[in-house]
Symmetry: C2
Subunit: 488 residues, 2 copies
Amino acid sequence: MAKEITSRSENYSQWYQDIVKKAGLADNSAVRGCMVIKPTGFAIWEKMKAQLDQMFKETGHVNAYFPLFIPKSFLSKEADHVEGFAKECAVVTHHRLMNNPDGKGVVVDPSARLEEELIVRPTSETIIWNTYKDWIQSYRDLPLLINQWANVVRWEMRTRPFLRTAEFLWQEGHTAHATKEEALEEARLIHEVYARFAEDYMAMPVIKGAKTESERFAGADETYTIEALMQDGKALQAGTSHFLGQNFARAFDVKYLNNENREEYVWATSWGVSTRLVGGLIMTHSDDDGLVLPPKLAPTQVVIVPIPKPDPEIMEHADKIAASLKEKGISVKVDRDAQKRPGFKFAQYEMEGVPVRLGIGKRDLEKGLVEIARRDTKDKTSVNINGCVDFIEKLLTEIQENLLAKAKKYRTEHTTSVDNFEDFKTVLEEKGGFIEAHWDGTADTEDKIKELTKATIRCIPNEAKEEPGKCILTGKPSARRVLFAKAY
Amino acid sequence: MAKEITSRSENYSQWYQDIVKKAGLADNSAVRGCMVIKPTGFAIWEKMKAQLDQMFKETGHVNAYFPLFIPKSFLSKEADHVEGFAKECAVVTHHRLMNNPDGKGVVVDPSARLEEELIVRPTSETIIWNTYKDWIQSYRDLPLLINQWANVVRWEMRTRPFLRTAEFLWQEGHTAHATKEEALEEARLIHEVYARFAEDYMAMPVIKGAKTESERFAGADETYTIEALMQDGKALQAGTSHFLGQNFARAFDVKYLNNENREEYVWATSWGVSTRLVGGLIMTHSDDDGLVLPPKLAPTQVVIVPIPKPDPEIMEHADKIAASLKEKGISVKVDRDAQKRPGFKFAQYEMEGVPVRLGIGKRDLEKGLVEIARRDTKDKTSVNINGCVDFIEKLLTEIQENLLAKAKKYRTEHTTSVDNFEDFKTVLEEKGGFIEAHWDGTADTEDKIKELTKATIRCIPNEAKEEPGKCILTGKPSARRVLFAKAY
């Protein structure tokens, strides 16, 4: 059966790679660090995208598209930004190839050197704010609430499918506002949208909070993040929303006339989630038998398997049930293969993470029954064929809720409060997970802890209550606990 | 009013640029040849994309995603392909920037030179067939019916928004088949899908046909095309579907074991349409007052304008009508602006191509009437407010049909049969449009005609009837007329 997967306890990282491969989600490509997203993996991303896009539109955003390339000089206009982004990226220097004069193949045409190099966008603040300069003159042009679905490239040294790849797909929102308050409100609104999406659709609980200054986006005055906990006790930063102040407006000279006819710099936000979410989804729910998907994001929600093989009577029932499921908006696949054994198919669909499997066999059918198996708990039930569609509809909701509850339980069990550095190190090494601890608020201490333990401050949680204490490293006073973890 | 637009008769090319700009569809960018697709322009592309995506899925295709970059050596593996594509493209040579040691800004880090240059994909046959090699072993792995929505880059010298840009958005289907017949059938199926989309959604009539050998895609054994006629009498190639034979399978060594356990090369197709379609849509229907959009692709189908200004009673009616329209799946905008005059707004919405405008004024309201104006003919009608939603629903269908009929009429009037080269030149210069003429079937003659007149053979129409004749240039025998035109 599905035993080609390494177990989580044996090697978590290999387990992840195995699932990505065996469930047909992604492949390596011939280009270093770039993956091929296979149809099943892409279908998950498409579902995420459709839902997020709807949520963005419901909150007043529109989509647009900006160029893939950024003139090199743009990157250095915002001082912090260039430090954070400009270094590891794909640089286009020429615009033509020519036949190799010395033999086979093609070579770069040296006469086609660009006057100014172009960078493949690692993120689009610079090219977008250079454009906004032309779009914004007065307060009447504001707010601009624009999102883009795009590919970006960051030349990462160590890559892993979905979690960290040189090219990845994402959305990047870039909004422009007349006031600081409005921009802050926007950044927080999107922060909420991300958290809602993670919990309600991905069934992935997240901690909402603000990044410390050292962990902020390069060019941001404030970064809000949602942090999820994976099954190996490591945190995954799943989505960030940045309040950019007037930094990019100053860098690209974007001013507007306010309603008193005075010129002011425009306030900005940017925010993004990426195909990394697919990695988070895999790691949050899957088990040693393969992928587990929350029904709301499963490309195929139900598979109907004839037992032992398709025959006309069984297939008639299967098609009828499939039609009724489709009418309810449930995506369903009817397995028509006549070669493979049911046991093999069951393992395959478990591997692929189909939330519900419906088996139809001759003997059950005589009693008016079908067998329904759920992927999350592996429980099986015999159900009357006439009520099976309603049963499945309810079951999908139940699976969605169960996955969230299970992930929350895991997180609760793997969130520990510690009060001194020894305990901090012990918990980090032996148990992992989120650690709530006091920190003196300085970047120095943060760096030191990272250096000593590899743990970082994931965020200052929104819901952290006022609680005076002492920094675990320096003993200096602290007003509230922050959230530490090792992270992806 | 909308009189900032150059008229078509004065300067067709400027008229097009004016519409793109004034209707807010696209902007130039800081990167040569790359455009910014603005929200309204992008919303049109999104509607096209959603519809095409549905049609692809209904015909059994799935989406996936392949890398942006192609190793340089891949391009020269298929001999014809490299001649057609490898030359004008964006070449990535380095993967890092560094602070300028001599001063401000950043420069390319010379130590970060790539071992092999990467090309930003101009099309993805090579990287995809390199991947298919791993995915295809036996006939059971076939067919592979995969599509990708992506950005591509071709370093064009002369660019125009949507029609020809260095970077553009498109879909590219890449399918793999066990037999020649199946691959040919696939290429023809997609050809039909493209034609149906053009006529049923874009209201843009197209001629379906095959390309001559010289006009085929680089690496194809057969290219099917849909050709539309623009209002300046020039043709626009709107979508192509290629039968690639075994060319890419041979180049990338992709073989499968057939059901007799014999190794064979795989058969291939590829097919694509791009944001160029937005350009075709604009040029097919628009007039001297601005954009005209077929309702099925209009981001906003109906706008409701209070006359002269929004007041509570009027807005209550407006909101009620808007809600009823939305229930029917009709997209509607309620204009709430209290500053601008109705006349100004009318001109603006005409410019933006909103298919139906509904005006609500106090005086009309007392009689239970509203005013409905259609963008295509500019006709206005007073309609009873209670029946206005049904009226609009029918009107949208009528506009969609009228635009197609009008475009067909234009094409019929601008399609001329000629029997000698003098007439050919005269018609081409004085009337333009499609010319049906005899051709001796040789590439030499085709080239000569192109050289002398700039007209190309757009296609050998599927529906060209057998009709013996003499080539207009050489007088040699010909079995049927082919379709000539000057083209974009």
